[in-house]
Structures are given as structure tokens and as C-alpha cells.
């Protein structure tokens, strides 16, 4: 079977960001049909001293091997997707995400994640976000499985 070799991931240009959080609002619109942002958004912008930082899934795919029911898969376009209908809400992917980017809102038991849809990129008035192509082999991570620390 042919497997994808590349995937679109989000790149952040910190110098352009003004912290308006339009990206979060756009993201929560995609996932929850609301512009609440915050815990309903898969992308987060934080202020760190005088500049901003972005926190979002990097499509490494470690979570795929954590899912007991196969709700997390890498799609043909390389994006790691969580199927809400298959998910049984165990939070294993949330707890094991190496960068803690698997998102979870109190309003729903199933987590959710960045699907590289570009809604945040389009919503950003400062063009601080960009979808770039990455090689899956370069970003792929697998669950820790070695015996001994």
C-alpha cells in the first residue's frame, strides 16, 4: 500500500503575531461550530514575555499507536486524524502526546486535534501562520518502547 510521504504542518512566524487569537476562534469554529476559541481550539497562542508562542500538533503521529480502537490514523494526505465516532474517550493520546498538543475540551469526552485544514492560516490578519510541507520521515515519532530508563 502506498503511504504518504509528506504532510502539511503549521509554521508560526512569531515576529508577525499580535496575539489577536483569530486563529483560535477559527479553529473552534471548525471543531465546535463556535468562535469561543480557548479549550475548543486545537491551536493555542501564548504570550511569553514580549513575544508570542504557538502550540499545535506537529503531525508526528505517535498517538496513532496509543489508540486502542484505531480512531487515530494517518490519512492519504499525511495528516493524523481522530475519528470522533470511533473514539472511546480514553485520553491515552492526550496523556502521551510528546508535546501535549492533543486538545480536549470539557464539553466533549473525545479529544480533537489539528487537521491542517488551514482555517487558522486564513483567519490570521497578520499572516503569522503558514502551512508548510514536511517529510513524514523527518517528523515521525513512535511510542517509547525500550526496556530500562
Amino acid at each position: 500500500m502506498n503511504h504518504p510521504t509528506t504532510v502539511k504542518i503549521i509554521k508560526f512566524h512569531a515576529e508577525k503575531c499580535k496575539g489577536c487569537l483569530e486563529c483560535e476562534k477559527a479553529c473552534s469554529k471548525v471543531h465546535f461550530k463556535t468562535d469561543d476559541g480557548q479549550d475548543k481550539s486545537a491551536i493555542h497562542i501564548y504570550k511569553v514575555s514580549s513575544s508570542y508562542k504557538m502550540h499545535v500538533c506537529n503531525q508526528c503521529g505517535l498517538c496513532i499507536d496509543m489508540c486502542p480502537v484505531g480512531a487515530l490514523t494517518r490519512r492519504k494526505n499525511g495528516v493524523v486524524t481522530l475519528d470522533k465516532n470511533t473514539c472511546i474517550g480514553c485520553q491515552a493520546c492526550v496523556g502521551f502526546c510528546p508535546i501535549e498538543a492533543m486538545a480536549k475540551s470539557d464539553t466533549r469526552i473525545e479529544p480533537f486535534k489539528c487537521i491542517s485544514c488551514g482555517a487558522c492560516v486564513r483567519a490570521c490578519p497578520e499572516k503569522a501562520l503558514e502551512l508548510i510541507e514536511a517529510k513524514i520521515d523527518d517528523i515521525k515519532k513512535i511510542v517509547y518502547h525500550k526496556q530500562g530508563a
Binding site: M1, H3, G61, L62, I64, D65, M66, C67, P68, V69, G70, T73, R74, N85, T86, C87, I88, G89, C90, Q91, A92, V94, G95, F96, K104, D106, I109, E110, K140, I142, V143, Y144, H145, K146, Q147, G148, A149
Partner: protein, 771 residues
């Protein structure tokens, strides 16, 4: 298989594939009874209904779970005790028509957010002990039973021919059908039934089916276990976990049940309808992170499961070797977890229920079977866990592949690896002493290290071999002791002291000679010697944290109660202390893992909507623990004499054992007798062994005195009416019964302390009627 991210449909185990004519198998079924029911929503962790089936009368009905039942028995094993009390007689034995085989869940069972929430608790009257045996097990059946609408299933009566019981939680229908053509051995049967009853031909549907079965050996042996399946969507295998102890599988087959199957439609992460899902998700995520960050530095459960204990036990002289004669062995490094790690398949979510990131259920895939009916086939072996590897050491099997072979056949034949391994080890020691030999063993050369003979023994059990030795040996150590003594084939004392059973149940795999508290952990138990109630070896022996009888008694009160609590809730104990918060050692009471106890308080409140604290959790257990002990008393056991343990678990039975640890024992004797080590050195070894024997026996009786007192029991070990009333267990029939038994003990002069107290030593109370 370490590259990870393999798409589910592409994953391959390399196992032998089977083709069956499912249409033919299914069309041979004859429906015996059917029952349609209205599905209700689960509320705050309870389905509020239990399912009753009688295979003699073919009656199927539902029983309501009352609020009073929850208040007194909490759930899970507690419900099982209540259902047994209502259905059996004190004379009920394992093969009686009215013996009840019960599988229960508990309010946590089916929760996916926190690790270890998929346990079923199984109860019945055990063929080994003639009293209640309870055994906990993972797999998907418990959650699916509850999602189908039932907190428990109880089965009385025996069918006339082999049947399957189908719980269709999709349609709301229970049926009992004959099942003449299915396989009996679990690894095949579970795969057949999963495929036959999955709603659609896909992995998701197969994952929504779970089967309980026991294999061909469970029909003949007293060690029958129950195999609970959990379909692995990657391996495409009906993997299984075992309710191992006490012969539950023997009872299943005696009732002519080939399998019990539960299937559900799609379910969500909130199927249990918890009161506070936000707290559940938060606590779950917190412990997932703890496991992610710390497991690799602590127990390595995710990489090798409980097998990590082998090297630790060997190092501390606690790994049972050659029937518990020794606690370590030069060859033991061959079966350290590092060697199994090489064989295990990696990077797969290995929890036996969804959301268990501790994932200790390891497997070897594509294992080539070396003997017996499946020789040459490639199979998935679930495990081995520590206990099974420990059995390897006990039988002198130092090859991981033979331990896998033993594990595979025990599982698929439906045999408890612990009882089977411990018993074979005893038979091997008897063989070494010439008490048994090839002729007396139906031509089996059962000497230590003979893996082929051990496997042949198991195959013959499965075949229903009627040889004189096999007929006794398959019933376990207690019956073997009686047989050997009857045949006058060896010294009675030696036989009694070396056969590692108590109450008729075989020991699990820890050497307890140097830990008095752990001797109590095995002996002062409800169902027999298992590590389910208390594991105090390190606390007692290594850390010397509980030096006095009073301290030990407190530990033998708290830990059995705490550990019982998991069984009331449908929980696994491992996520409690097989991973510990980073700062645990700095807390007031590290052995209790206070932060995790607090997690459980908050979890129980979040699921049930109750408002409990940690003291209430212990009270929940005390109610059920005392109830079970009282039921043992009711059935004629559950007194001091029934808490007897073999001397092999206390000290050196043979000269060889004494000599092998001479320095240690000489030192102990010097301290006990107030002599110099030189003076002890000069004593003759038989004398030293006798002195040590008397001392250790007396210590055990003194421990029992302290523990009974702490638990609120009479000096003969009977829970008192006062204690039961304090706990709110005010069933008049129960109170009347225990009062009668206590009066009988009083008449017989049994309400006295067991220890011999010298001047300056005090029993727990001078007043023998302290209750």
C-alpha cells in the same frame, strides 16, 4: 516490529490462519431458551440490574439492584457475595446444581479514562477449597456485560449438553443455545465465536464482542480458569486474560457451558454515564502522563509487564525455585524480563481494556508451538506474566520458550498457570525424593527441569487421562498430599510441609520464609494463598517498616481492605502502585501511595455521584471482607485451623534448605536463643531445624492472634456480630449464624489465643471476650 505507525489493516502477526465453516457451526445450534429485555441507560456507573440464568430449569430473569445493596456491598465482588448468600446453602459444593457462577462488574468497570477500569470479578464455590473463590480478570466481557444492561450475571444449574450463553446488548436479548461443533480450547473457540457473532465482518464489530470460555483441561482438572477475550484489532486475534484462581473454569465446564458471549453496539467514552466526566478526564490524563514520564524509570510495565519482577525477586532471594526450596538460582538470569522483552511484540496498545496505558498485557506473536495438538502452528501467546515465569523457576524450567509453551497451553486448555505450576513443582520435589517415581507417575518423568514431562502432564489432563496418578494430580496439591499419605509413600510431615497449599489452593509465586507479615498475607486470607490481598514482603523484610506484631496486624488489616476495594469497583490494582508519583517517597505513607488513593476517592465520587472520603473506601471493603469471612464460617471453614500454612512458607523444611542459607538461619537462631553464633554453629543441624520450626510456628500463631484482634474477630477468627453491626451488616440470618458458631467455638474451648506467650509477652488482649 519496532517501526510503529503500521496501519491496522496492514498489521501481521505471522500466526497460522484458520478456516471454519461458520454457517455449519451456527446452524447446528439449537435454541434452548430466549429472553428479551428492555435496555436501560446506565446511571452513575450502575446498570441497576443483574441477570439470573438457571441452566437446569432454563429460567432467565432480571433482578433489581437496590440502593441498600449498593450501600452495603458497593458493587463488583460485593454484589457477588450478596448474590451467593441469597442463592446457595452452606452445604453447596463446586459441583452442586445450586452452585452459582457469578461474573460481576462494579461502578468503575467500563470507564475508559483511567487505567485499569475493565475488570470483572468472578465468584463461585471452588473445587479446590469448598468455599467461595473470587478472581479478577481483564478483557472486554465485564464492560460489555454492563453496557448490555447488567451489573452481574449469575448462573445456577447444569445444562444437559454443551451450551453457549449469548448476551446480545445490541438487540436486548439473552439466549441459551446448544453448541455441539465449536472447538473447546479457548484460543480457537474465542476466535470462532467472535467471528460468528460480530455484527459485521470488520475489526470494529469484532472488537465489540467478548467471550468467556475455558478449555478442555478445565473439564478434568480443579485448576480450570476462565479466559476472557479482548479482540485485538491490529493482531486480529481474540487475546485473553484469565480469572485464574480457584477453579472457576472447572465450574463453567461442569455446568456444560462452552462459552458466555457478550456483544454491544457502538459505545462511547461516557457509556457508564458518570456524574462528573470532566473530573474523570482530568484524573485520567494526569495518570497517563505519569505513566508516560515515569514508568520507564520505575517498573517498565509498558515494556515487559509484571515480568520485570523476576530479576528483583531473584536478587532478594524471593523467586520460588524448585518448589520454593530456594529464592534465587544461578540460572535465573535466563528468564529475566530482558529475555522476554526480546520476544514481545512492541509499539501496540496492550491494555486489556481501553484506556489502560499501563498496558502490562504483553504478547509474543507468531510463536511456534513445540508439543501437543497444536505442534508446529504459529500462535499468539498472551504473557507470560510474573507468576507464570515464577512457575518456570519453581519447576526448574530456565528456557523462556518452554515457559511460553507452558503459558500457551495452560491458557488455551483453561488451566490456571499458578496452581498448575506450583503443583507440578511439588510433584517434582516428591519425585526427587523417590516418594513419586516414573511408575507411580503414570510413566511421566516429573523431575525438576523436565519441560517435556511437564507439558505431557498438561496434555494428558486435557485428554482426560484416567491414570491413577493423573486422576489425583489434576485435582491439586491437597488431594495429592492425601493420596501420598494414604499410600504411605513418604514421611507425612515432609509431605504436609512441602506441598505449597493452604485451604486447598496452591500458593502463588513468592518465597515468604523471611517475611512473617507475608506469611500472614498468604495464610490469613479469605480464599487461600494468593498475592491479591497483601504484598508486604518489602515493607516487612527489606525495609523493616512493620517490626511489631501490632504493626504487622495493622498492615494485614489495611492492605487487604484496600486491595479488596479494587474488586468492589471493577478495578485493576496495578495502576495504584506499579507507577508512583514522582514525590511519593516524600509523603507520610509511601507504601499507601496517598496521591493515588486520593485519585480513587475523587474517581468514585465522579462516577457514582457519592460523597465519600478515603476512610469510607476502607469501610466499603470491611463490610464485604467480613461478610465473605462469615460466609466461609457458615460453610464450615474460616477459623484458625483453616488459616494453617505449610512450613515451607515459613522456614527450611529440609537439611539442604537449611545448609543453603546456613549463615542466615544460624544468625536467626542465635538471636532467638540468646546464644553466640559460635554456639549455634556447634549445634547439630536437626536440632537447629527443630528449634527454628517451633519458633516460626509460634510466631505465625502470634501474628494470627494480633490480626484477628485487629480485624474485630474472635480469637478463633470469626467475625463477631458486634463488628458486623458496626459495619451496618445487620442481616438477622447472618448475625444469628455467626453467634451460633461462636457459641460452638466457646463450648469447644477454641476461643483462646494461639501463641505461646512467655513472661513479658502479652497477647493482644487478656480478656478473651473483648468483642
Amino acid at each position: 516490529m519496532a517501526e510503529g505507525q503500521i496501519p491496522i489493516e496492514e498489521y501481521e502477526t505471522g500466526n497460522t490462519k484458520h478456516k471454519w465453516n461458520f454457517k455449519k457451526i451456527k446452524s447446528s445450534h439449537k435454541v434452548i431458551a430466549e429472553y428479551n429485555y428492555k435496555k436501560r441507560e446506565i446511571k452513575n456507573g450502575f446498570a441497576n440490574s443483574t441477570l439470573y440464568i438457571n441452566l437446569r430449569t432454563n429460567q432467565i430473569k432480571e433482578k433489581k439492584v437496590t440502593e441498600d445493596m449498593k450501600k452495603k456491598f458497593t458493587g463488583g465482588r460485593g454484589f457477588g457475595l450478596k448474590l451467593l448468600w441469597d442463592s446457595i446453602k452452606p452445604t453447596t459444593r463446586w459441583d452442586s446444581e445450586d452452585n452459582n457462577l457469578i461474573i460481576t462488574t462494579g461502578p468503575f468497570c467500563g470507564i475508559t479514562q483511567y487505567p485499569g477500569c475493565g475488570k470483572s470479578l468472578c465468584l463461585t464455590i471452588s473445587p479446590s477449597t469448598d468455599i467461595i473463590c473470587d478472581s479478577n480478570v481483564g478483557g472486554f466481557f465485564g464492560p460489555y456485560l454492563k453496557f448490555s444492561g447488567f451489573d452481574a450475571i449469575e448462573i445456577q444449574g447444569k445444562a444437559k449438553e454443551d451450551v453457549v450463553i449469548l448476551i446480545d446488548g445490541e438487540k436486548g436479548k439473552i439466549s441459551i443455545e446448544t453448541a455441539p461443533l465449536e472447538e473447546t480450547d479457548s484460543h480457537l473457540l474465542n476466535e470462532q465465536l467472535t467471528n460468528m457473532y460480530a455484527s459485521e465482518d470488520n475489526e470494529e464489530s469484532r472488537q465489540n464482542v467478548s467471550v468467556v470460555s475455558a478449555g478442555t483441561a478445565a473439564e478434568h482438572s480443579y485448576w480450570g480458569c476462565l479466559n476472557f477475550s479482548f479482540w485485538d484489532i491490529r493482531r486480529k486475534v481474540a487475546r485473553m486474560k484469565q480469572a485464574g484462581r480457584g477453579g472457576l473454569g472447572t465450574v463453567l465446564r461442569d455446568k456444560k457451558i462452552k462459552a458466555i458471549l457478550a456483544k454491544v453496539e457502538k459505545f462511547s467514552g461516557l457509556q457508564n454515564n458518570p456524574a462528573d466526566p470532566v473530573t474523570l478526564a482530568k484524573l485520567g490524563t494526569k495518570i497517563h502522563k505519569e505513566i508516560r514520564n515515569l514508568d520507564r524509570y520505575q517498573c517498565n510495565m509498558r515494556t515487559v509487564g509484571t515480568g520485570h519482577l523476576v530479576e528483583i525477586m531473584d536478587e532478594y532471594d524471593l523467586l520460588p525455585t524448585e518448589n520454593y526450596r530456594f529464592g534465587s538460582f544461578p540460572k535465573a538470569s535466563k528468564i529475566y524480563s530482558t529475555n522476554f522483552y526480546k520476544l514481545f511484540t512492541k509499539i501496540i496498545p496492550d491494555g486489556c481494556w481501553h484506556g489502560c496505558t499501563m498496558a502490562c498485557a504483553k504478547t509474543v506473536d507468531g510463536f511456534t508451538v513445540m508439543t501437543g495438538p497444536y505442534k508446529g502452528q504459529k500462535v499468539t501467546v498472551d504473557g507470560p506474566e510474573y507468576e507464570t515465569i515464577g512457575c518456570g523457576a519453581n519447576m526448574g524450567l530456565w528456557d523462556p520458550l518452554w515457559i511460553l509453551e507452558f503459558n500457551f497451553y495452560c491458557d488455551t486448555y483453561g488451566l490456571d498457570t499458578i496452581s498448575t505450576g506450583t503443583a507440578i513443582a511439588f510433584y517434582m520435589e516428591m519425585y526427587e525424593y523417590g516418594i513419586l517415581n516414573k511408575e507411580r507417575c503414570d510413566s511421566l518423568e516429573l523431575c525438576f527441569g523436565n519441560a517435556e514431562a511437564a507439558l505431557e502432564f498438561i496434555h494428558r489432563i486435557a485428554q482426560g487421562d484416567k491414570g491413577e496418578f493423573l486422576s489425583v494430580a489434576k485435582k491439586g496439591i491437597r488431594r495429592m498430599k492425601d493420596w501420598l499419605i494414604e499410600k504411605k509413600w513418604g514421611d507425612r510431615q515432609l509431605i504436609e510441609d512441602t506441598g505449597m497449599e493452604s485451604k486447598g489452593l496452591e500458593y502463588s509465586e513468592y518465597v515468604t520464609k523471611e517475611s512473617l507479615a507475608m506469611q500472614g498475607g498468604y495464610g490469613l486470607t479469605l480464599k487461600g494463598p494468593q498475592h491479591d490481598e497483601a504484598w508486604l514482603i518489602f515493607m516487612d523484610m527489606v525495609n523493616n517498616a512493620i517490626p511489631t506484631f501490632e504493626d504487622k496486624a495493622e498492615a494485614l488489616h489495611y492492605f487487604p481492605m484496600w486491595r479488596t476495594w479494587f474488586g468492589l469497583n471493577g478495578l485493576c490494582k496495578l495502576p495504584w502502585n506499579d507507577v508512583e508519583p514522582e514525590n511519593n517517597a516524600e509523603t507520610d505513607d509511601p507504601s499507601k501511595v496517598p496521591e493515588h488513593v486520593q485519585n480513587y476517592v475523587e474517581l468514585q465520587n465522579a462516577i457514582t455521584g457519592w460523597n465519600v472520603d478515603k476512610k469510607e473506601l476502607i469501610l466499603q471493603s470491611e463490610r464485604c471482607y467480613n461478610w465473605q469471612r462469615a460466609m466461609n464460617v457458615w460453610m464450615g471453614r474460616g477459623r484458625r485451623q483453616d488459616d494453617w500454612i505449610p512450613y515451607r512458607s515459613m522456614g527450611p523444611v529440609t537439611r539442604m534448605e537449611y545448609i543453603s542459607r546456613k549463615e542466615r538461619y544460624d544468625k536467626q537462631l542465635a538471636k532467638i536463643l540468646g546464644l553466640s553464633e559460635k554456639e549455634v554453629e556447634d549445634m547439630n543441624i536437626e536440632k537447629k531445624m527443630k528449634l527454628l520450626y517451633d519458633y516460626k510456628q509460634d510466631q505465625y500463631q502470634k501474628l494470627a492472634d494480633a490480626v484477628y484482634y485487629r480485624r474485630g474477630w474472635t480469637p478463633n477468627g470469626v467475625p463477631t456480630p458486634k463488628k458486623m453491626k458496626q459495619l451496618g451488616m445487620d442481616d438477622p440470618k447472618m448475625l444469628k449464624m455467626i453467634q451460633k458458631k461462636i457459641d460452638e467455638d466457646e463450648k469447644a474451648g477454641l476461643n483462646v489465643w494461639g501463641g505461646r506467650y512467655k513472661r513479658g509477652e502479652n497477647p493482644p488482649s487478656k480478656d478473651l471476650h473483648y468483642w
